[in-house]
């Protein structure tokens, strides 16, 4: 290997080439032996790093949950729009500012770097409760940045509480599991607002035929993907078209075959339909069959005309079979 132009590969190749570069006089047997021990050392180091990182992330999550619990006890509302909670590892500052008829709430976690670094990329939900809160209990998603800041926009007035979501994956909005306890069933409603302004409302989430309504403002036809595990544990991926309307935000409804309300699920950002490729054809056909209102069907009809040929063919066939 030229030491200045590495060739990507596994630990075995890298270690062998580093050793050969440092010890050009070494024979093949020496290289074999030391390469093997170097690879073993690297593998052990990665496993150790994983264990440390897992533990650090869990500590950071626990500290954040403590801070959010403290904030819930302390309270945050239009009447008390600023709060500071200090736990052992985190100092959490919350501030709410009016933005029109609604509020923007900023959470800022100050912590030493290992904790702060582990918090980056975690997602929180915010919701307003109390007499002044909106009837539909929307949860607003916010992601913690590397600086420990999460911003929630468009919150209605009320007493604001925050929860840490258990899962997060780059490139997806994590959706909280449907609460199935008695209190949740009595209060009803499941709605999540993503940071891009798209609202996900789940109708009859614990029933036999739950329906997901996706709404948002779009200037041209867009697609949103959703992923969930069904009751049999199989991964499901559906696409929901969002076509602009003459007045008001776009919305479409889709059924969720096999949806299991107790599991977290996830959704994607608004996609350009031109980005759908052959790998999406099966999901598109499944989604046509799951469409639950005329707007969704109209969106699929438009996609049958405008999507790439391999996707359009699958959509057309599914529409013909309805």
């Amino acid at each position: 290997m030229n030491a200045h132009e590495p060739v990507p590969g596994g630990f075995e190749r890298l270690c062998r080439e580093l050793l050969a570069a440092a010890y050009p006089e070494a024979d093949a047997q020496w290289l074999d032996e030391h390469t093997a021990s170097a690879v073993a050392a690297a593998d052990r180091a990665v496993a150790l790093a994983d264990r440390h990182a897992d533990a650090a992330r869990e500590d950071a999550r626990a500290a954040m949950r403590d801070a959010l619990s403290g904030l819930r006890t302390r309270g945050l509302s239009p009447d008390g729009p600023d709060a500071r909670i200090e736990t052992g590892a985190i100092a959490l500052t919350a501030s709410a500012r009016p933005a029109g008829a609604r509020f923007t709430v900023t959470l800022r976690a100050d912590a030493a770097d290992p904790v702060l670094g582990e918090l980056a990329g975690l997602w929180l939900t915010a919701r307003a409760t109390g007499a002044r809160a909106a009837r539909l209990p929307v949860r607003y998603l916010g992601e913690l940045t590397r600086q420990g800041v999460a911003v929630f926009t468009g919150l209605p007035a009320g007493r604001w509480t925050f929860d840490l979501l258990a899962h997060s994956r780059p490139g997806a909005f994590p959706m909280p599991a449907v609460e199935t306890n008695v209190v949740a069933a009595a209060t009803g409603g499941y709605a999540v607002a993503a940071p891009n302004g798209v609202l996900f409302v789940l109708h009859d989430p614990a029933g036999r035929a739950p329906v997901l309504e996706v709404g948002g403002t779009v200037d041209r036809l867009r697609v949103v993907w959703i992923r969930y595990r069904d009751r049999a544990g199989a991964a499901r991926r559906l696409l929901v078209p969002l076509a602009p309307r003459a007045a008001g935000p776009a919305n479409s409804r889709t059924g969720l075959p096999g949806f299991s309300p107790g599991l977290e699920w996830e959704a994607g950002d608004l996609m350009d339909p031109a980005d759908l490729g052959a790998a999406d054809a099966a999901a598109a056909a499944d989604s046509v069959r799951a469409a639950a209102d005329r707007r969704a069907l109209r969106g699929w009809q438009e996609l049958a005309r405008t999507a790439r040929p391999e996707v359009a063919a699958a959509i057309g066939a599914a529409l013909a079979g309805l």
Binding site: S37, H52, P114, A120
Partner: protein
């Protein structure tokens, strides 16, 4: 990616968020005649190579990938004969 590779001097702190073998930083800098700048340069090259390895890329988010790469790089450079010779210096103009 280079801006995310930790400084050798940061790795001296126990709570830096990374794991490297005890004594790694001191011996690696000593190997480079206490030239911290040159040691850092060579360290970053190794970490970048390790980041290209499938053992790191296949199952890691970016922060986790860096934690794995730093740990593996430290082990490769400190727990093998590379403790005594830097492959970059050897490939260049001098043998430590």
């Amino acid at each position: 990616m280079a801006e995310l590779i930790p400084l050798l001097s940061d790795l001296l702190y126990a709570r830096c968020g990374f794991t490297v073998p005890d004594g790694f930083v001191e011996s690696y800098v000593k190997l480079h005649d206490q030239d911290w700048h040159r040691a850092q340069d060579h360290w970053e090259r190794v970490v970048r190579w390790v980041l290209d390895c499938r053992e790191v890329e296949s199952r890691a988010t970016s922060r986790r990938a860096m934690q794995q790469a730093v740990a593996a790089s430290g082990a490769i450079l400190h727990l093998t004969p590379l403790l005594a010779r830097c492959p970059h210096c050897r490939a260049g103009r001098r043998v430590p």
